[in-house]
Amino acid sequence: MQKSNEELLKIEHLGLQRNGREILNDVNLQVFVGQVHALLGLNGSGKSSLAYTLMGCDGYKPDRGQIFFAGRDLNGLSLTQRARLGITLAWQEPARFEGIPVGKYVGLGQSQPDRQGVVDALEAVALPAKVYGYRAADQTLSGGERKRVELAAVYAMRPRLAILDEPDSGIDVLSLTEIAKLIRQLSHEGCAVLLITHREELLATADTASLMCYGSVIFTGDPEETREYYTGRCRPHLETLGAQPWQEEINS
């Protein structure tokens, strides 16, 4: 894997309120070039909100703190501008597109049209281009197929930072292996990956991991160490507390 000590993403004291509720609270995080950085935490702990905030999605403008990407302050940059800097996001539940072929969708983020790049990206997620390239990226795809198309689109884009929001949910066990390979390939090519996951198969691809709780990063370390902290101490404790205060907000 191509790893480096070069800092790509730096989040400092990030805070976000929505509808008067604290969604992100003093988040601090660093991601390096080529690093796979896993993000763990219970549902509603703020992982997806952090992903949307980094991407610049509507309604996720932070009220405190800063996000630096390759040394550049992302504050005020639109979603498109962030994407053109090389940041992209694979949604947990990707949108469906009536009438847009899978092949076209996968190639949208390419700097230059590259048909072979689209074919390779689809093959990388075990979707043969001959079968899927001309199908619409709509509701006729299963949930798992649509998620794999999303990952192919991220891979074809060759981003500098890929934010993958639970690429494992709704994916069959065999396809998990392909997705793990894809994450390693992204990393190998120098792409940093912020990986939101609940699956150990994908956690194994990570170089480091952080644990989110109540909108804050409370632990960062070796993936196994972080997982043990999460399952051994954090999760049992949280389960005694019941639903987290912003869970309803995030789920709505």
Partner: protein
């Protein structure tokens, strides 16, 4: 482009025929058709320019009766009972000059058990003041299937009025699938009025797609009456309007018999100061029938938009891609 001399074309000895046919073939291509198909001996073809029948090429199982009338053509199209027509029948209607009226009075008679597809291309590439009226009566026999796809190209000026009106009867076990598409060039005024009566176990599927810009007006009235036991009907309307365009969609589905099932699905995307109206009307006259409807009217879906922005598209590019996909 000259037509093939191997085909027997109507009025081909008339002065100017070749030039007019060539112009229609170019217009046909602009509307999305493949002009080569008009020259194939195995493909039934009817080409009408203004009130001139330029070509009426029949094949076994498909027969045309076409004659010129004032400002138009009266055409009867017959498909023989039990005929399975391998290649789609190609229809080409158009007006090449900037001004004119084309009134098509058409009757389609699809014999019992027949299976046929029609590809109709209507092109008005130079229209600044053109009116195209289609008054059609369609009869689909028992167990017969008619798949009718109609694509329009109207040129850039918007000086055109198109009024496709049809009364369709689908007999027992028959099938009527139709797609109307006006997504290239300006719409001008579009006034669709389809009335469909479906018999026992008949199946009806109507897809309407239009993209209005500037001051275009889109008006769609579709009425599907599911009169027979277990008749099925689906309407799917996809319309986008931007600038000052207006769309009005009136869709009615009647469940009038036991086991009848109907569904209406309308999506309209609105941009700028355009306006979209949707009025679905559900009528059920039998306690074993069911009709449902869904509609989404408004701006583009935020999640779809952001998914495209996250690939580096700007907002205009993303919206255009979503709209083009929807009406594709």
């Amino acid at each position: 482009m000259k037509s093939s001399p191997t085909l027997q074309h109507a009025n081909s000895q008339r002065p100017g025929w070749a030039d007019e046919m060539a112009a229609m073939q170019d217009a046909y291509q602009q509307a999305g058709g493949d002009p080569k198909a008009l020259q194939l001996p195995e493909v039934a073809t009817l080409v009408v320019s203004a009130n001139n029948v330029l070509a009426a090429h029949e094949i076994p199982g498909v027969r045309f009766e076409a004659e010129s009338i004032d400002h138009g053509v009266r055409a009867r199209i017959f498909v023989s009972p039990q005929a399975k027509i391998e290649h789609p029948v190609h229809l080409c209607f158009g007006v090449i000059p900037a001004e004119g009226l084309q009134n098509i009075q058409a009757e389609y008679d699809i014999g019992d058990g027949a299976q046929v597809k029609f590809l109709a291309h209507c092109s008005f590439p130079n229209a600044t003041k053109v009116e195209h009226v289609m008054q059609a009566r369609v009869h689909i026999g028992k167990g017969a299937s008619l798949n009718y796809t109609e694509e329009h190209y109207h040129g850039p000026s918007g000086g055109i009025e198109v009024r496709p009106h049809a009364e369709v009867t689908v007999d027992e076990g028959g099938e009527f699938i139709t797609t109307f598409s006006l997504t290239r060039g300006r719409v001008g005024l579009l006034d669709i009025d389809y009335q469909i009566d479906a018999g026992p176990e008949a199946k009806v599927e109507m897809i309407t797609k239009a993209y209005g810009t500037e001051e275009d007006r889109i008006q769609v009235r579709e009425v599907v009456r599911l009169n027979g036991d277990k008749a099925r009907g689906v309407t799917k309307t996809r319309v986008a309007v931007r600038n000052q365009a207006l769309s009005e969609i009136f869709t009615t589905m009647e469940g009038n018999a036991p086991g009848a099932r109907g569904h209406m699905d309308c999506t309209e995307i609105v941009r700028d100061t355009a306006e979209a109206r949707n009025t679905p009307l559900v009528i059920v006259r039998d306690d074993q029938a069911q009709v449902t409807h869904e509609a989404a009217i408004g701006t583009v879906n935020r999640k779809e938009l952001e998914s495209l922005l996250a690939r580096g598209l700007d907002e205009d590019e993303a919206v255009d891609l979503i709209i083009r996909g929807m009406i594709r």
